[in-house]
């Protein structure tokens, strides 16, 4: 029995050691006359096994070159490659070096100022749908943002307001702004202005949560969109007439609406549309004609193979739940809340989510930054969202309710004002320097936030000119397949009496978006009181 165990223990040795010494060790074992001596040898073999595996790494490999095998026919087998056996010191160095490189790589990915390694997928706003139908290639003068065509259904589904808050607001559209303000003062996280402008703001500046849903709708519709109908002269004419009718009724600037209508009619008269029978190409052409006449990249004729639905409409419970869960998952798109060196607060958030859902999150973020000596809002990847969040965040920067902007709704012929809330108790940021980082990807509500604070001389904007989305719109049904998206709400700043539509918001300090944070930190430092 002991002999069997001893043989097993010998078998446990590294193969090279076993091959070389096992027979002789067994011979020694066989020389033992007493059981106690044999047991000692067994223990010795087990210790030896451990020693060989743990302390003798070179012994784990066979040494074929030192013990050439011979085949039965007498031809020796040659091995030319010796197994690689790193020295202990080399292994330790290797592990240390690998660890250091790994940590540096992680650090570089996390804090890289070069955004090449920034792997987070940015939320895409309504105007920036990422899919372009193959038949609707954008015209050469159109930029990526806002120039894409989407099937009508996709737009119609994504266009409506998916928030519970906006649905509530729709119930009292006729209330004057002051009345609503009183209603809302009971809720410290709700902005004063929460009337129809928000509804419509959401209609265009869609919460980013829906962006991926848009994409999935787009993909789902893609094959169907290829099977399109042939358009006749009468159908084309009908679409043009309906588009003009809607433009005249809803487009935010009546004069521009007339100019676009004239452009459509003159193109039709010139026969520019005649050669086109593909409905998607026709929608693209009309969009081009409209955008060339107005330079407004938000106006768009949309074609889809599914029946179109006018918007805005109330969001379905599923859409509300989906938006809610997306916001919770993404931390309400608040990406970074940090105190930078020199006690500069830094807040990077990538949308303005519905304050009804994310108000407490925003309040927590601002509370965390409350002790900062200056604050930097990073809106470089902010795709916009809800006006109520604009008002809520701006509230922390003023010591009194402040008029931010007005929303003019052409369809309803109404003007709504947006104000900050009553000052938050304990807020210390009202007199602190504020910097806003912008880029060409700063959209819609993020632009409103930047523009309003710039006009109020409350913030210094650092970065690039923003995208220029100052109008908000909705989709109007033309027929079962065609729809038109029309900007029908204009945001007007009470100080400048205009907005950033088409031009974008000009930063105070124009630098590359990638350098904006660094520059803003420097500027903030210069403004801080010397300690």
């Amino acid at each position: 029995m002991l002999r069997f165990l001893y043989r097993c223990a010998l078998h446990l040795h590294p193969p090279a050691f076993h091959r070389r010494f096992a027979d002789e060790m067994l011979f020694i074992f066989d020389q033992q006359t007493s059981k106690s001596a044999a047991a000692k040898l067994l223990i010795d073999a087990l210790v030896s096994t451990t020693r060989q595996w743990v302390l003798r790494p070179q012994g784990r490999y066979a040494h074929p070159a030192e013990s050439p095998q011979t085949l039965p026919d007498g031809i020796p087998t040659f091995y030319t490659i010796r197994p690689f056996r790193p020295r202990k010191a080399a292994a330790v160095h290797g592990i240390a070096l690998t660890t250091v490189v790994f940590c540096l790589t992680c650090f570089a990915i996390r804090y890289s100022w070069i955004r090449v390694l920034h792997l987070r997928i940015r939320e895409v706003p309504f105007e920036e749908s990422t899919w372009v139908p193959p038949a609707a290639a954008p015209a050469s003068d159109q930029t990526a943002a806002g120039a894409q065509r989407r099937p009508a259904v996709e737009a119609a589904v994504s266009n409506p307001i998916p928030s519970a808050a906006s649905r509530v607001e729709k119930k009292s559209p006729q209330l004057p702004a002051t009345a609503r303000q009183q209603d809302n003062t009971s809720n410290p996280v709700m902005p004063a202005e929460s009337g129809p402008p928000e509804v419509n703001a959401a209609a265009t500046a869609l919460p980013p949560a829906n962006a991926s849903r848009q994409a999935s709708f787009a993909v789902a519709l893609r094959p169907a969109a290829v099977e399109s109908l042939k358009l006749g002269q009468a159908q084309r004419h009908r679409v043009v007439r309906a588009a003009i009718e809607n433009l005249n009724k809803y487009y935010v600037e009546p004069e521009m609406a007339r100019r676009m209508a004239d452009a459509l009619l003159s193109h039709e008269r010139a026969g520019d549309d005649q050669a086109i029978t593909d409905p998607e190409a026709f929608a693209t052409l009309l969009t081009d004609q409209l955008q060339k006449a107005s330079h407004d990249r938000c106006v768009e004729v949309i074609y889809g193979t599914e029946p179109t639905v006018s918007s805005p409409r109330a969001p379905t419970p599923t859409e509300v739940a989906e938006y809610r869960s997306r916001m919770i998952e993404s931390n309400c798109t608040f990406e970074k809340i940090e105190i930078l060196p020199h006690n500069i607060g830094y807040l990077k958030f990538n949308s303005f989510p519905d304050a009804a859902l994310c108000g407490s999150m925003a309040s927590r973020a601002m509370k965390k930054l409350n002790g900062a000596d200056a604050i930097i809002f990073d809106l470089r990847d902010n795709s916009g969202g809800y006006a109520n969040m604009v008002a809520l965040l701006a509230t922390y920067l003023f010591d009194r309710p402040t008029h931010l902007n007005d929303f003019y709704n052409r369809g309803e012929n109404s003007i709504e004002q947006s104000w900050t809330l009553e000052p938050i108790p304990g807020d210390k940021l009202a007199d602190k320097p504020v910097f806003i980082l912008t880029s060409s990807r700063t959209f819609s509500a993020a632009e409103a936030f930047s523009y309003d604070l710039k006009m109020l001389k409350r913030a210094t904007l650092v970065g690039e000119t923003t995208s220029g989305r100052g109008h908000m719109g909705a989709v109007h049904r033309i027929d079962d397949r065609f729809a038109i998206r029309i900007p029908e709400i204009k945001v007007t700043n009470p100080i400048s009496k205009t907005n950033w539509q088409g031009t974008g918001v000009e930063p105070d300090v124009k630098v590359r978006a990638g350098d904006a944070l660094q520059i803003a930190e420097r500027l903030a430092l210069a403004k801080l009181p010397r300690k």
Partner: protein, 114 residues
């Protein structure tokens, strides 16, 4: 295996005894164990062959390909190389110094009568 012999000193007791056993004649593993045991020192086969493996790699000891015709075929015989002998000489010399030093100090420490 290159290097100055003094780099390997001091030898472990097991290594010293193995080299010492092989200094007189070529021996197989069991013979080495018995020879070591004769000097009141015990090593098991695990320690023995671990040391032999290292010594063969360092070219201190070589394995002989031959054995007496009537011997057990499992036995392998080992011989001390010139390098191994040099190492043993160095170690012996070092130990001699240690012993001499020790004797000297022990004499100094011995109380003398006035």
């Amino acid at each position: 295996m290159k290097g100055n012999p003094s780099d390997f000193l001091p030898l472990s007791p097991a290594a010293l005894h193995i080299l010492l056993s092989l200094a007189g004649e070529d021996l197989h593993g069991y013979g080495i164990m018995q020879e070591v045991a004769r000097r009141k020192y015990r090593i098991g086969p695990g320690t023995l062959y671990d040391n032999l493996q290292k010594m063969i790699e360092r070219r201190w000891v070589e394995e002989l390909g031959t054995r007496p015709a009537d011997d057990d075929p499992r036995r392998r015989y080992y011989r001390l190389t010139a390098r191994g002998r040099g190492i043993l000489r160095e170690e012996t010399s070092r130990l001699g110094e240690v012993v001499r030093e020790a004797r000297l100090r022990l004499q100094v420490a011995k109380p003398r009568r006035a």
